[in-house]
């Protein structure tokens, strides 16, 4: 009997009448890393956005740790404990690192609680502490990634959805970000990671979903997925 943190069933969603994702499902286990891969434009990002409510699903169900969060707004979903870290390292560029964290703690009122959460975030990312007075827009790409991680952590989510955390980062930065992901996972964080960079993902994920044209194509342990040579060649353009 597996312990599910996130259970998505039959999710259909899109921006127009033509759905981008159709009848998609995913079961993410607690304290594990679940990976999602697929060719460009297969609906990976839309899938995550539909889960957190940025895109409204037309049908399906999203269960987070036993609660139905299907038609919630992104903020309500976050309150339930599902944090979404979008592509492109979204931070408030004209605010300092500390002010960015303050914004992520906007709904927390207790100053001692807020301080505690900041300390925790800074323990994870000492570099951010060094740069706490610096404007977020002047940080490097990797540091901005760390900041958006830290901002998500402040609300102590049960599960994090990461949309291509390696996108646009230098190789050393990618390594660092994935080390962070492993570290947080080892500390008990459940994670769902969408990636183009599948070589890294295969090393860290406990379970992998392959999407194609807005539908589930295959899922299994990394070893099982790696056996699907034809599939990997066809959709990822890589040699397994």
């Amino acid at each position: 009997m597996s312990d599910l943190i996130l259970d998505v069933r039959g999710l259909t969603a899109g921006y127009t009448e033509e759905p981008i994702i159709q009848d998609m499902g995913m079961r993410a286990e607690r304290a594990r890393i679940t990976g999602i891969i697929g060719p460009n434009g297969c609906g990976k990002s839309t899938f995550l956005k539909a889960i957190v409510g940025i895109v409204s699903p037309t049908s399906g169900q999203v269960m987070l740790d036993g609660s139905d969060v299907t038609y919630n707004t992104p903020f309500e979903t976050l309150k339930y404990g599902l944090a979404y870290i979008p592509q492109g390292r979204q931070v408030f560029a004209d605010m300092s690192v500390l002010e960015n964290l303050r914004m992520s703690a906007y709904t927390l009122r207790d100053e001692t609680v807020i301080r505690g959460r900041f300390d925790e975030a800074f323990t994870h990312f000492p570099r951010l502490y060094e740069r706490r007075q610096q404007l977020a827009g002047t940080l490097s790409g990797g540091e901005q990634s760390m900041l958006s991680f830290a901002m998500a952590m402040v609300l102590q989510p049960k599960c994090m959805l990461l949309d291509e955390p390696s996108l646009g980062l230098a190789p050393t930065m990618i390594e660092q970000i994935f080390e962070t992901i492993i570290e947080m996972n080892e500390a008990g964080m459940s994670m769902v990671v969408v990636e183009q960079n599948i070589n890294v993902l295969f090393q860290i994920a406990d379970y992998i979903y392959i999407l194609d044209s807005g539908r589930n194509r295959f899922d299994g342990n990394p070893e099982d997925v790696l056996k699907q040579e034809e599939l990997l060649k066809l959709y990822m353009g890589v040699q397994a």
């Binding site: 914004m103 906007y106 709904t107």
Partner: protein, 291 residues
């Protein structure tokens, strides 16, 4: 009076007159930078605040500067009504829609003022209106000095509010990334409403502080709004510190223009200067945003 003293006198006069323009421009820039809304009726709120100050003076004998305590909260509420009735529904539409709507509002407010107060020029002259003091031959009028100091104080209060308070930070966050702010639980609609309320209160403050040394008639807003837009454009759209510096520059340039070219024609050099600055720096002295 030596030529040097005369130059200093003109400089001081220009600086002291810039306070009202700066406050109107701050409101304009705030609404534009946060709500992305263009309000060409901004100075009509200043005009009504001038009448409000005048009525309080005539009816109750209330000192014009003290009447800020009434004018500010009343116009903040008017700002809320303005947001709910005219901004909220068309906020995401084209700027042309905003301009047409608020231009219509400006005409309505001008004609309402004409109906209520007639076209007569109204002034407030307090007991201390003519009082002034002298520094090295440069005469400083008390009423203009107080108006200027209030404007500068309000500027710094606004900056402190935006940087040091939870609501102020949320206003800046919404200006930078509306959906990211919403994702962290900021009620974006409420932030827009607060921003417009502050902006209209600033426009009203401008009217009130200028009343003791200027005059009011229904069309007075047209002069102000031209300068306010010039300041906003020159300082960088939505850039508040830019608005302060541009406001001081424009006040001084206007004063020199009036002295050395004379009358309304002196204003030409204000707009000539803006053309030159925009030619050299198309996004204004300080660039956009940075709220």
């Amino acid at each position: 009076m030596s030529e040097l003293v005369f130059v200093f006198q003109t400089l001081v006069d220009g600086l002291l007159l810039s306070g009202g323009y700066i406050l109107i421009a701050l409101g304009l820039g705030l609404i534009f930078g946060v709500v992305n809304y263009v309000n060409v009726a901004q100075a009509e709120f200043s005009m009504f605040a001038m009448y409000g100050t005048w009525v309080l003076w005539i009816a109750l004998g209330l000192d014009p500067f003290l009447s800020l305590a009434i004018i500010l909260p009343v116009f903040a509420m008017i700002g809320v009504a303005f947001y709910v009735s005219m901004v909220r529904a068309v906020r995401t539409r084209d700027h042309g829609v905003h301009i047409l709507m608020t231009l219509g509002l400006a005409f309505i407010l001008q004609n309402a003022a004409l109906l209520i107060f007639s076209a007569d020029v109204r002034t407030i002259r307090t007991a201390y209106s003519a009082a002034s003091f002298n520094i090295g031959g440069v005469s400083i009028n008390i009423v203009k000095l107080v108006a200027f100091l209030i404007a500068i104080a309000l500027f710094f209060a606004l900056i402190a509010f935006l940087n040091k308070t939870r609501t102020g930070r949320a206003i800046r966050a919404v200006a930078q990334d509306e959906s990211l702010a919403a994702a962290f639980g900021v009620n974006v609609d409420r932030i827009f409403m607060i921003t417009v309320a502050i902006a209209i209160a600033l426009a009203a403050a401008a009217g009130t502080i200028m009343m003791p040394h200027l005059f009011v008639q229904p069309m007075v807003g047209q002069f102000f709004v031209l300068f306010a837009f010039a300041i906003v454009v020159m300082g960088g759209m939505g850039n508040l510190k830019g608005a302060l510096v541009a406001g001081l520059i424009i006040g001084v340039v206007e004063a020199f223009g009036q002295v050395y070219i004379g009358g309304l024609a002196g204003r030409i050099i204000v707009f000539a200067l803006i053309l030159i600055i925009l030619y050299l720096r198309p996004s204004g002295l300080f660039g956009r945003s940075a709220l």
